[in-house]
Symmetry: C2
Subunit: 339 residues, 2 copies
């Protein structure tokens, strides 16, 4: 497959690139990041079997996805290993157990380092000793000074870097501008627009993305999109992201992720026109490995998630409502959230 | 509630209107059309109990929705009344049985008249004898001459009129332009952009809407959007419609409708900022009446519908796949559609 790609007719390639601003062409600078195991780990305390993790890894590799995020790099001092599975810590040896020497040349490996939850100086080894290619730092706005230090640490150790600034739907404009100014000068190569609450509409995503892109370009950085599906907008907001200059797109197989879930990888790959992406390996992974988990993990669109998205609230109340078996008690939840 | 609305502070109203091009304001010319019973009737041969139809009617009335479509006005010569329920024919007496004198002043009643399937000269009575306010004609492009006659008939009888031009994702540009030229001069007051196959992305919806709006304005007409949810874009495409000048928005309670279903009314009303709309009556209808039908009727996002949307195909193969109990045989369906 790789050989075939490399020998792709040069003229055809040039034509496709020339058309990259048109719908029928494709943008060569788009990168797709699979965060199924990482975001999905919020539904099961990161307890995935090796079989599932390997299936997602193979789906990512075979479908031409650019990055796969294995999990959080959280500290065992904060998260008890007796309660949380391997992918809350994403130790290098666990990743190596799944990927060996990583047979998929096009697939890079990422982990997420949460500000204040990661012993980054100790737990993140120099890149030459690690199977990881990229460190993504997740931060709330008040943690940005710490996040900047984490990014510098990762960069100094040789990693690609990205930052996910969370819960921005509750940040005031002035603080967001200040944050983006700092991030534009940081060691992060990618700045992610994260719709943590699944509460942003296309108009808002487009406005914010233009702002992110403006700051990111000043610092020579790229912009990413990480969307949630509370209002059935995760995919739509992700492709709006492309139109507004985002080049890193987060998605998960079958939309597996916290609460209403994420941008579904299968719809995104079906949309992207770059011939390096294939849909079928993702569909196979869904049918054989991911959909069988849905009954237990219960992610995906549900009215409580929609209501918390509409109200721009953290999804935790909606998750409690769904996990307590009251997913269908819509009015009770709506009244409790609006009273 | 109506009184409260009328006495709304005049200054506040002016401000809201002045802001109507902004996200926080609202556009007073937006009309929401509930087509739950009509489109949902494609999942059960229009066999809804009076209790369900009345529940949807009350939800529409109490939530401030502008139009409710009861069903098709199809000919009993083509559709056997032994096989199809009342809402495939939507006789005036059946509508009157549900709505009496229509206690909801703000709610108008519509039916859909399918080209070649409706005895419109006989079955559509003059408006003064009927509880119906608006006739929406559904047509494929090759039926437009007939549709124009149906529109004239409805207009002459005193009805508001609209036209839904179906399956446009398979129409060539030149034919679409010709069709829109004719419709711009027709007796239709609203021209609907209909994404029959749930196959249109935001970029395409936006492009097409601008075209529809251009032609519609030439003829002094409005533009509507009717979206399907095969790729989880029904709501996103509908709100994109607003930004591009559409003023009639179709939606259904819980997204009930053929295949992957429609733009969900609850997400749309949650989004619209006009204070005349209320979400709670729709949530009540969902919890008590519509969600209990899902197990039998089986509408909503599913991988076969996604695949047929991605491939720009009529949903019938996907519906067969789902109805035959093979909703989860994703690869088999994908391979059969792409081989």
């Amino acid at each position: 497959m790789k050989t075939k790609r490399k020998t792709m007719n040069a003229k055809a390639k040039t034509v496709a690139q020339a058309q990259s601003s048109k719908w029928v062409g494709y943008r060569q600078n788009i990168k797709v990041l699979d965060c199924t195991i990482r975001d999905g780990g919020l539904t099961n305390n990161s307890h995935f079997s090796d079989e599932i993790v390997r299936a997602v890894y193979d789906a990512a590799g075979l479908s031409g996805v650019d990055y796969m995020e294995f999990g959080y790099k959280n500290s065992e001092k904060i998260y008890s290993p007796s309660q949380y599975g391997a992918w809350r810590f994403s130790k290098d040896d666990d990743i190596k157990r799944i990927i060996g020497d990583n047979k998929y040349e096009s697939l890079k490996i990422t982990v997420m380092a949460d500000a204040e939850k990661c012993d980054y100086k100790k737990d993140i080894l120099p890149k030459e000793q690690s199977p990881i290619d990229m460190i993504r730092v997740a931060t709330y706005i008040h943690q940005i000074p710490l996040a900047l230090d984490m990014l510098k640490d990762a960069k100094d150790k040789g990693y690609e870097t990205g930052i996910n600034l969370m819960a921005i739907s509750t940040i005031r404009e002035r603080e967001l501008d200040e944050a983006l100014e700092l991030l534009a000068e940081s060691e992060s190569e990618v700045i992610y627009l994260v719709d943590s609450f699944g509460s942003l509409y296309g108009e808002q995503i487009n406005y914010l993305l233009r702002k992110y892109v403006k700051y990111a370009r000043q610092g020579g950085k790229e912009v990413g999109v990480h969307a949630h599906n509370n209002m059935q907008l995760a995919f739509a907001n992700t492709i709006d992201g492309i139109l507004n200059g985002a080049t890193f797109l987060d998605a998960t197989v079958a939309g597996l992720g916290r609460g209403a879930g994420n941008c579904p990888m299968e719809i995104l790959l079906g949309f992207l026109h770059n011939p390096k992406y294939s849909l079928r390996p993702v569909l196979e992974c869904i049918e054989k490995h991911i959909e069988p988990l849905r009954k237990d993990l219960g992610w995906g669109f549900a009215y409580p998630y929609m209501i918390s998205g509409l109200l721009n609230r953290h999804p935790k109340s909606a998750i409690e409502q769904c996990e307590s078996g009251k997913r269908d008690n819509i009015l009770e939840f709506y009244d409790s959230m609006t009273s």
